[in-house]
């Protein structure tokens, strides 16, 4: 992962988990089931973890350009 990739990976992880927890709270409250909340929340955690923890090629699009050796 390059520096941009690290920044965006952490940002996307936080976004997905926050959206998942809010969606879980909303749906769980509407159908009055805490199980639904937890399943949606854990699902969003696994989705975000799978997307943002491994070193996928999408996180390597801004390689560092070192100065050429003279």
């Amino acid at each position: 992962m390059d520096f941009f990739g690290q920044y965006y990976a952490y940002l996307f992880f936080r976004l997905i988990v926050i959206i998942g927890s809010l969606l879980g709270i909303l749906i769980g409250f509407l159908i009055q089931s805490y199980k639904a909340t937890i399943y949606i929340y854990i699902g969003s955690i696994f989705l975000a973890g799978l997307l943002c923890s491994p070193n996928w090629p999408i996180w390597n699009k801004h390689p560092l350009n070192f100065k050429k050796k003279n």
Binding site: Q6, Y10, V17, I25, G28, Q32, S33, Y41, A48
Partner: protein, 167 residues
């Protein structure tokens, strides 16, 4: 953030805050959602047994209990612990409260209790032989046990009867 395990570590640290957020929302909403009043009626069916055994007064009674706890269940409730107490006021002593029956309701499907002539699980005992001629109050108490947050104890459905003077 540049290795796999560093990222996992950072993510787990962030998950702690979202988990706490969900728990706080759930526990606070449970306090405000829990305003339903279940239908409860309890009354004495008959006194099965009233004797002095091993120098203590013991009574076995049968009561009718009809209760519908369906409306109490929401997304915050794990189970409901229902117990029936017998309260009486012996002379020269403080008020006595004896738990004579209890039951755990685990789900919404089994939330309707319809009991006829239910004998007490735990014998109504008074160690000073003060049960004779005593006015007994039967009360239904229930503990709403939440998934997150505070335990809520409520009581309802009083009925009165008098035990016989003679054994």
């Amino acid at each position: 953030m540049h290795t796999f395990f560093q990222r996992i570590h950072q993510f787990l640290g962030f998950l702690l805050s979202t988990t706490i957020f969900i728990i706080i929302v759930n526990s606070i909403s449970g306090l405000y959602l829990d305003d339903s009043e279940p239908e409860i009626s309890i009354q004495l069916n008959k006194i099965h047994e009233f004797k002095n055994n091993a120098r203590t007064d013991r009574a076995v009674i049968g009561f009718d209990l009809h209760a519908d706890f369906t409306s109490t269940f929401n997304w915050n409730v794990k189970q409901i612990f229902v117990f029936v107490t017998a309260e009486y006021q012996p002379e020269g002593r403080g008020k006595s409260e004896v738990v004579i029956w209890d039951h755990i309701i685990r789900s919404k499907e089994e939330a309707v209790l319809d009991l006829v002539d239910q004998k007490n699980k735990y014998v109504l005992v008074d160690y000073e032989n003060d049960l004779r001629g005593q006015i007994i109050n039967l009360t239904v108490n229930w503990d709403v046990m939440p998934l997150n947050g505070f335990l809520r104890l409520k009581k309802h459905g009083k009925t009165q009867f008098t035990l016989p003077e003679k054994i």
